[in-house]
């Protein structure tokens, strides 16, 4: 089986000092997943000139993505709504600085991520636990006597189940999992956002997936036993 988990070199230097042109940069996974929306460019340039109706159009184009991002990162509706509001207010303040170096959605989502992270830091939440080492398979991993081959997840989980399992992850795990596996950020980007090392981001992601596996398998076991 081909390793499908990566797309570009996460070990590349974090910030190449180059002029940022859209053509010259490798298309990030995040950007590919957020193709431009029809009418967006017009709305952006009108909103940049202070057109309130155009700003509302932009809000309606992007509210679902931004809210879902906040909700998945925070796991809490009230906070997610507050921070969606904050992200769009920040967008309103900063929209005149958008130059089109990246896709608008990429720019906006990054802004939303920063709003959420700032909020969590203010709350004193430790985003990435530095002390935790990766203990191989005490409870999360396969056991020899477990009949693992019979219990492969493949083909067994639907979106709702996965969504619920993601909600159950501890905040630090959930953050890296949402940023990398759901939103498509690279480890070097996440390391920058969370102010941790790339290795730390990788190990946190791994632990998150291991925990998810264990949650999903419990779920499977529960269903099989029911």
């Amino acid at each position: 089986m081909k390793n499908t988990l990566r797309t570009t070199d996460a070990n590349a230097p974090a910030a190449p000092v180059q002029p940022l042109t859209t053509e010259a940069r490798p298309v990030q996974q995040h950007q590919r997943r957020n193709p431009p929306i029809a009418g967006e460019l017009t709305a952006i340039s009108q909103a940049q000139q202070g057109d309130g109706a155009a700003f509302e159009i932009l809000y309606n184009m992007h509210k679902r993505r931004v809210y879902s991002l906040c909700l998945r990162m925070l796991g809490n509706v009230a906070e997610a709504e507050d921070l969606t509001q904050e992200a769009f207010l920040q967008l309103h303040r900063k929209i005149s600085t958008f130059r089109g170096d990246s896709a608008f959605s990429t720019w906006l989502h990054r802004m939303a991520v920063n709003v959420v992270l700032m909020h969590l830091r203010k709350k004193g939440l430790q985003l990435v636990s530095l002390e935790e080492t990766l203990e191989p398979t005490q409870e999360d991993g396969p056991r020899k006597d477990f009949g693992t081959r019979d219990l492969t997840l493949s083909g067994s989980i639907d979106r709702v189940t996965l969504e619920r399992a993601v909600e159950e992850l501890p905040p630090g795990y959930r953050m890296v999992f949402v940023l990398h596996d759901v939103e498509g950020y690279e480890h070097n980007e996440i390391a920058g956002m969370l102010q941790c090392s790339i290795g730390n981001s990788k190990s946190q992601l791994h632990k998150a997936r291991m925990r998810l596996r264990s949650l999903l398998r419990q779920n499977m076991g529960g269903r099989a036993g029911a």
């Binding site: 390793n3 509210k63 809210y67 769009f88 398979t137 693992t148 081959r149 979106r159 996965l162 596996d181």
Partner: protein
């Protein structure tokens, strides 16, 4: 027999400790020698790959409540008034 089991789980530990790097390397998982002989770790890798693939399919499904836009609008209107009073 006991000795063999210990060796096998040592191999598994070693392999699993390196997994975060393996997932993020250019080398294809299927070329990892340990996976050719270990069904447990193969199942583990399959599951983790499956989770990552499924995660990419998680779409945004929820809209924020209409109150969010109302709040944004009222803040923007207030800011506008303040700006006008200043000038």
């Amino acid at each position: 027999m006991t000795n063999q089991t210990t060796n096998a789980s040592k191999e598994c530990s070693k392999f699993q400790q390196q997994l975060p790097e393996f997932f993020d390397s250019e080398v294809s998982m299927s070329d990892q020698p340990h996976l050719k002989t270990c069904a447990n770790c193969s199942a583990l890798v399959r599951d983790l790959e499956y989770i990552a693939v499924q995660a990419k399919l998680l779409l945004p499904i929820h809209d924020p409540s209409p109150v969010v836009w109302q709040n944004i609008q009222s803040v923007l209107t207030k800011n506008l008034h303040n700006d006008e009073q200043k000038s």
